[in-house]
């Protein structure tokens, strides 16, 4: 363009000749086109799998390994014992302090069923290889990417292979492998394999060295493990932090969750492409057979009805159905009334186990848990569970009080902490730590009117107060918003179920708060009068020029105060007249006097324990347990225990 300026009279500059461009023929272009392996794709797009930054990468690696360990144990019917160990590794020179370290060695050990020798390399060093993708069954992992992606990340950042030790039983030998991924072919490359002596009779150990950062707080490994324990009280976890501290999380619930069953897909949840693929792969020879055997809830009668609506012969070969016919079939499925999918494929945590988890991990005064009946979105069954832990533990409350003895200035008030509730989210028992704002759970919490339940909440924000809100979605297929499984997508059905569960929790919390309020209000009433009587007497005395019989006036007023607030009546109201957490199912209430509700009982030997019914505290002075009396007259509501802390 510069050359044009030198010829001003030219009315319209002639377009400059286009610079010579490299042109390519289709043949040349074709030579450049080649297959991209999944591994290569994810090497370039590692943020899709949760390896965006070193801190998150550390968490993702731990998470994938722990999720796999738990899935394996549960499927094999073994109560999981998992050990997580993080070590800062020196990158040349002495090992730096954990907060400065950039390299970590992660070791996760479980007592699971172990892995057979031949499967070890592909499981840990081949992307999209696994047992979970092809079936509809509730599990933590879904795709078979996680652990191999973690290994690939290790390989990418430190060049070190993943080290696996696994043993399938006391009589079998332990196998040790070092594997890496061949990213071009997406195939495992075995660097080392041998039989070794291993102290564990059974289980798997995975170790890898990665580039990462260790930092406590939000979305840290520590938080992830703590939250995992809440939703998995049947897990025993040992965690060795990079600082070398060992944290033990004992098992609080001695029962494995019921094993979820595998189901066939429900016709409503299928897309056209998937339908076509299934029709290609089916073993059935007739359309009606295909429909009734490859889908859940399709009886031969329903299959016949679908065929009729679609205008297809029930005896047509499934493989021949494509084009317009397939589309008709798809539409016919959508318009036919089909029973909701079976829900025995789901394994919710359960109210009691959830309560145990919350109670163990979170200090509070009130706990409750709700498991909703199963529901369905897009043909996938799911269950929503919600829980609440509210308040501060009584001990903490007592400590906090004495320091507030200073007189308050204008504009200050007693409740000067504006702490917001914490929302912890789970999908298939796995904590979700990132992207809370994109998640259906957060949206439902915000949509709930917590003020109805006696909790403060400003517009468009989380409820305020010392409160932890727990929400779990269990489903054969959790609709995540991305591959890194960070947030649950907002389907109307899911939103509705979460809201219903939260409301139930809220109602119980409201009942608890009101009850506590009622008990204290009479006491406070009397207190108020006593407080103000002194002021009034002093003022009256000054008004009367200091010539008042103050003691007499005070005495008269105090007597009236006691009479009006009814001495005996107040005490009666303060007492809990023996009925415990009244009308609050699946709840625990902690008071300075003790604990009421379904409290898990810990027994040293770790055997499952039947809860023994014990009296709920009947009066504030219930220092003498009244076990005997209660045994003689069992209450209709069983399972209430009282435990001194």
């Amino acid at each position: 363009m510069g050359g044009m300026k030198s010829s001003p009279p030219a009315p319209k500059p002639k377009p400059a000749a286009p610079p010579p461009r490299a042109t390519l023929s289709a043949v040349e272009m074709g030579a450049r086109q080649r297959e991209i392996s999944v591994s290569e794709f994810f090497t370039k797009n590692r943020h899709l799998l949760g390896f965006d930054n070193p801190r998150k990468a550390l968490l993702t690696c731990v998470k994938e390994a722990v999720d796999n360990a738990l899935d394996a144990c549960e499927e094999a019917g073994i109560l999981p014992d998992v050990a997580v160990k993080l070590e800062a590794v020196a990158n040349g020179g002495a090992a730096p302090p954990p907060s400065q370290a950039t390299r970590f060695r992660i070791t996760i050990t479980d007592n699971g069923p172990g892995i057979v020798r031949q499967q070890i390399p592909p499981i840990f060093a081949k992307l999209l290889y696994g047992s979970k993708f092809h079936r509809l069954r509730m599990s933590r992992g879904q795709q078979g990417i996680g652990i191999s992606a973690a290994g690939m990340y290790a390989q990418l950042t430190t060049g070190k292979p993943v080290q696996i030790t696994s043993r399938t039983g006391a009589r079998a030998p332990a196998h040790y492998f070092e594997v890496q991924i061949d990213t071009k072919k997406n195939e495992p490359r075995i660097l080392e394999k041998k039989q070794i002596a291993w102290e564990s009779p059974r289980g798997t150990q995975v170790a890898m060295e990665i580039e990462g950062r260790y930092q406590k707080g939000r979305a840290s490994v520590d938080e992830y493990l703590e939250q995992t324990i809440i939703a998995n009280p049947h897990v025993k976890l040992t965690y060795v932090t990079p600082e070398g501290e060992t944290k033990e999380y004992p098992r609080t619930y001695e029962q494995l969750p019921p094993s979820p069953r595998e189901i066939k897909p429900h016709p409503y949840g299928i897309e056209l492409g998937m339908l076509l693929k299934m029709a290609q792969d089916t073993k059935s020879h007739s359309l009606s057979g295909f429909l009734s055997s490859d889908f859940s809830r399709v009886s031969p009668a329903v299959a016949a009805e679908i065929c009729k609506t679609a205008g297809l012969s029930p005896n047509a070969r499934p493989r021949d159905v494509h084009g317009q016919a397939a589309e008709n079939l798809y539409k016919a499925i959508q318009s036919t009334k089909i029973m909701a999918p079976p829900t025995n494929c789901l394994s919710p945590i359960g109210e009691r186990a959830l309560l145990a988890g919350l109670y163990r991990q979170i200090k509070g005064e009130f706990y409750t848990a709700v498991t909703r009946p199963p529901a369905v979105y897009r043909g996938n069954p799911f269950v929503i569970e919600a829980g609440l832990a509210f308040g501060r533990a009584p001990e903490q409350g007592e400590q906090a009080q004495p320091k507030k003895a200073i007189p308050l200035a204008e504009g200050e008030d007693d409740k000067d902490d504006h702490e917001l509730a914490r929302v912890i989210r789970y999908a298939n028992r796995v904590p979700l730590l990132y992207q809370p704002s994109a998640c259906a759970v957060t949206a439902a919490v915000l949509d709930t009117t917590w003020r109805n339940y006696g909790v403060a909440q400003s517009r468009g924000s989380l409820p305020a107060g010392p409160m932890v809100i727990f929400v779990h979605m269990a489903s054969v297929w959790v609709p995540f918003t991305s591959e890194s499984k960070e947030a649950i997508a907002e389907y109307d059905e899911i939103h509705k179920e979460i809201t219903l569960a939260l409301r139930e929790c809220g109602r119980r919390l409201g009942a608890f708060l009101r009850r506590r309020e009622r008990a204290h209000s009479e006491f406070r009433r009397r207190n108020i009068f006593e407080l103000y009587i002194e002021e009034i007497v002093q003022s009256c005395n000054r008004l009367k020029g200091g010539r008042l019989a103050t003691a007499k006036l005070k005495d008269q007023l105090l007597k009236m105060a006691a009479k009006i607030t009814g001495g005996g009546k107040t005490d009666e109201l303060l007492g809990k007249n023996g009925s415990g957490p009244e009308g609050l199912p699946h709840s625990i209430i902690v008071t300075p006097e003790g604990v009421e509700g379904e409290v898990p009982v810990m027994v040293p030997n770790g055997a499952p324990v039947a809860e023994e019914p014990v009296a709920a505290p009947s009066a504030p002075d219930a220092k003498t347990p009244r076990k005997t009396k209660d045994r003689a007259s069992p209450k209709p509501r069983a399972g209430r225990t009282k435990k001194k802390r």
Partner: protein, 367 residues
């Protein structure tokens, strides 16, 4: 306060009555209760004959042994105590000082007797109406928020204040202007012009409007404080001066006028000493933009609050006269309000040189 023994004032006796009420009730094992006249629109009546708003008979009980009222009751006794202290010491004070005087943390607790001044102010008003004592009699003063200039001479604490010799700024009207504190030594003016806005009062004062039209110029900077209202009333009553009120053309201006004329709803019992039933509304009227050729673009659109307030005014008994109904409805119909300042659109001195002279000449005012 070891002065020579002096007789307690009537107000002081009334305040001690609060203590007596508590003592007597306690003696009889009864809940101490103070009956406080209700200060709300529902409990005022417009006395058409006198042209005043008067307080009705309804009272509300404030009892101590009632959780909702216990604290207020305690505060009432506390404020009564502080007020009687003022009486004994013969001091005057402000609302804010009363608040600070009565505020302390209650023994053995984290609770303050009062948290903000918003709690003590209504209690002072409660005591005013309950004891039928004026705020001035209770020795509580407000800010000096008013100014006066014109041919009038006051004696204030023995000083002669000649309001013709105070330049543009005038004399700052004290909040207590009862004859004991302020005497009117001489007044040769023909009328009083009470201006809502300080800015317009400044314009008139600077232009020496008062000299040419021989009047007293008074302003209260917005809703006139009690001192200004009381002083206007005294000039009206003692010197027989007619009072004209000049306010913005908006619902709040109308209400300011009505408070000057009939008294306020909140402190209706004071109307008898404050109100000037013969006061006239000289402007700005909703008819003025047309008759004085004010362009539409200097108007301001009425907002929802303005409209709602105007509708309320339409319902008040003392705005039922036909010209007033027309006045307010005309404003609503135009959807616009006008500030006094808008007159400057025509000329900086339009108010002094054209508007007021014509208004006075044409006797164009509302009653």
């Amino acid at each position: 306060m070891a002065k020579k023994p002096r007789k307690p004032t009537a107000v002081e006796k009334k305040l001690v009555g609060v203590a007596d009420l508590v003592i007597t009730a306690a003696e009889k094992r009864k809940d101490p209760t103070i009956a406080i006249p209700v200060r709300a629109l529902s409990n005022v009546e417009f006395n058409e004959r006198k042209g005043l708003i008067e307080m009705g008979k309804r009272k509300q009980a404030r009892s101590f042994f009632n959780v909702g009222m216990a604290k207020k009751f305690m505060q009432t006794v506390l404020v009564a105590d502080a007020l009687s202290e003022l009486q004994r010491a013969n001091l005057t004070t402000s609302l804010r000082e009363i608040y600070y005087r009565t505020k302390h943390t209650i023994k053995d607790s984290h609770e303050n007797t009062l948290d903000t001044q918003d709690e003590s102010d209504p209690i002072i008003e409660d005591l005013e109406v309950t004891l039928t004592a004026l705020r001035e009699e209770l020795h509580v003063r407000a800010e000096n928020a008013g100014s006066i200039v014109g041919p009038v001479v006051f004696v204030d604490d023995g000083d002669r204040v000649d309001c013709t010799r105070l330049g543009k700024g005038g004399y700052s009207v004290p909040s207590i202007v009862e004859p004991e504190y302020l005497q009117i030594a001489r007044c040769t003016a023909d009328f009083v012009l009470l201006v809502e806005k300080g800015t317009q009062w400044n314009r008139l004062s600077e232009d020496k409007f008062w000299r040419r039209y021989n009047c007293v110029l008074l302003t209260g900077n917005g809703q006139p404080p009690r001192g200004v209202r009381r002083l206007a009333r005294r000039l009206h009553e003692e010197k027989g001066l007619p009072v004209y009120v000049l306010v913005d053309n908006d619902p709040w201006g109308y209400y300011i006028y009505s408070v000057i004329k009939q008294g306020s709803i909140n402190l209706a019992f004071e109307s008898q000493r404050m109100a000037i039933p013969k006061a006239k509304f000289i402007g700005l009227s909703s008819a003025d933009p047309e008759s004085y050729g004010l362009p539409r673009n200097v108007g301001i659109k009425l907002n929802d609050k303005d409209t709602a307030r105007a509708r309320e005014l339409l319902g008040y008994t003392w705005f039922q006269k036909k010209p007033w109904q027309e006045e307010i409805k005309r404003m609503l119909a135009s959807g616009l309000k006008y500030e006094l300042d808008a007159l400057a659109n025509k000329d900086f001195q339009y108010l002094t040189k054209k508007y007021l002279p014509r208004k006075l000449k044409e006797k164009d005012w509302l009653d």
